[in-house]
Symmetry: C2
Subunit: 321 residues, 2 copies
């Protein structure tokens, strides 16, 4: 059942002994919303713990450095930023069917919770949660505000992505009034990278090839690269965006070799060209500006297939180019 802000605030005020569930592969938004809700509930004298199927990532260590799980018997199960029960992960799978309240911003939320507060226009679950806490008359303390800010900052790429709204900025302003150290958070979230990640970025910069009047880049990561440079898949997560960094590039392609002669393609658009339509030709899909597919064959042939599909979207005749 969909509920509104006021009903959510009433729910939280009238219940106690909370288990707050976050999603697998926890990101800044589920972590931020989980701990912010936990600290806010504890500040009202209630019992609350944050649960996750995965370990809390060190990246968000400031959120939980003084956090201790409380000992109590749970009465109320709440999920934050969890669009689908499947995303609770195996260790928390026992809570499926028992989530009484979900606070989320995913348009794709499956409605598994008994009570659902979802604002699909919100940039982050933390944005929705901030509004809930305001409704409850709670002014976040500094740590709670830092958790909420982190969720909004990470989900919006620090106010850069299209999901950033007027309200995202207004809430950021309110959170800054709570005395947060936004500079430190942003440095840790956006400027700090593992050595392995930096090596992966270097690989992409070093191996970027230009095609189609320099309007298209292709970058390849082979199994051999993975082995010799010691890369894991993790290091390349989110790097596809780098393929459209060069000025003038409209489409960027990241090709990752997989076992069995398969290549995983990530395609990005920095123009109006719809890359999901291109990827659909290879049985893939996605969004207008970010899509993917899997292609089999020899690497050079795979590149040629992709360029043949991409060229017409730029008005280029590949055989004359």
């Amino acid at each position: 059942m969909r509920i509104n802000l006021k009903e959510t605030a009433e729910f939280l005020e009238t219940h106690d002994n909370y288990y707050i569930l976050t999603h697998v592969n926890p990101d800044g938004d589920t972590m931020g919303a989980g701990f912010a809700l936990c600290y806010a509930l504890r500040s009202k004298g209630k019992n609350a713990n944050v649960l996750c199927s995965d370990e809390f990532p060190k990246r968000y260590g400031f959120m939980y450095e003084n956090y201790e799980p409380q000992k109590f018997s749970p009465d109320t199960v709440v999920a934050v930023d969890v669009a689908d029960e499947k995303l609770l992960g195996t260790p928390l799978a026992g809570y499926k069917g028992y989530v009484e309240l979900c606070i989320d911003h995913h348009v794709s939320n499956t409605g598994y919770a008994k009570n659902l507060l979802v604002y699909p226009d919100a940039s982050a679950a933390c944005e929705v949660l901030y509004r809930v806490l305001s409704e409850m008359g709670i002014v976040p303390d500094r740590l709670t505000a830092e958790c909420l800010y982190t969720g909004i900052a990470t989900d919006t790429g620090c106010f850069r992505y299209a999901n950033t709204t007027v309200l995202s900025h207004i809430i950021a302003a309110k959170l800054m009034e709570c005395g947060i150290d936004a500079e430190r958070i942003n440095r840790d979230m956006f400027d700090r990278k593992s050595k392995e990640r930096l090596a992966a970025e270097q690989h992409i910069l070093s191996n970027m090839e230009y095609y189609l009047d320099d309007k298209c880049t292709i970058t390849v990561v082979t199994l051999e690269d993975m082995k010799t440079k010691g890369f894991t898949q993790d290091e390349f997560e989110g790097t596809a965006g780098m393929t459209v960094q060069p000025e003038g590039v409209q489409i960027g392609v990241l090709i990752k070799e997989k076992d069995g002669g398969k290549f995983k393609i990530s395609m990005r658009s920095a123009s109006d060209i719809d890359v999901s339509a291109i990827c659909a030709k290879f049985g893939g899909g996605g969004h207008i500006k970010a899509a993917g597919c899997t292609v089999e064959g020899e690497l050079d042939d795979v590149k040629m297939q992709l360029l043949t599909a991409i060229a017409p979207t730029m008005g280029i005749d590949l055989w004359l180019a």
Copy 2:
């Protein structure tokens, strides 16, 4: 003479035929403030042109793609984001002593203008100008709002730096209400880079050396690198921040070889260590988190001198390390 918001608004309302001066090496803030003020004044039926000693950079092309200089005899000279008359540059040097109004945010403003509106706590001149326009009752049109947003976004690193305030976010929210395409602006300002810049970034990533328990990085750009890779100084502007990207690194050093056996040192801190104090030992200076100096000698000796000065700030005994 320092004037306030109201007096600035009155000044702009009671004058006409404006030459708006921007600073040399124009950045997003001086460009954004210049064109925003120009469009706002024109919307009030006044004559206004934007002047710069340098060409308007293509990077900010959207600000002036339909801009045409008007023909009129100037009565009022205004400077935006220009902290010192020297920064007007040679072609505009003739206006020295004739600037009647300066709108700025630099604490270092020399007070050269007959009337000065400066808010040193503002993140950008565009933030100050937004407040002036509000005082005048002007609601920015979309293009004017995009100019103002660009100034705030570029001067705050998209709301990431310590100069970002509550008001920066509130003004960003107001500008988003004017219908700006913040995503496109941010992509163009932050995600798009020239091939040469990307090559410079790759050079830094490839040549980063780790010292002092991996808490310090040193990256060198030699004259030979500049020559063989075809780099100019421009490509390395603002790259010193990359030296503290790796997780755990507290101090990053970028060494650029200059003629005559000299090395220009840029030092960055990602901790509480004050790098201006370290650079001061070599006759340099700067800020706590960003400083510089020039050191002479053989490269290996220069590195050792720097590490010898840095090690104690991390509690490391270099000779035992």
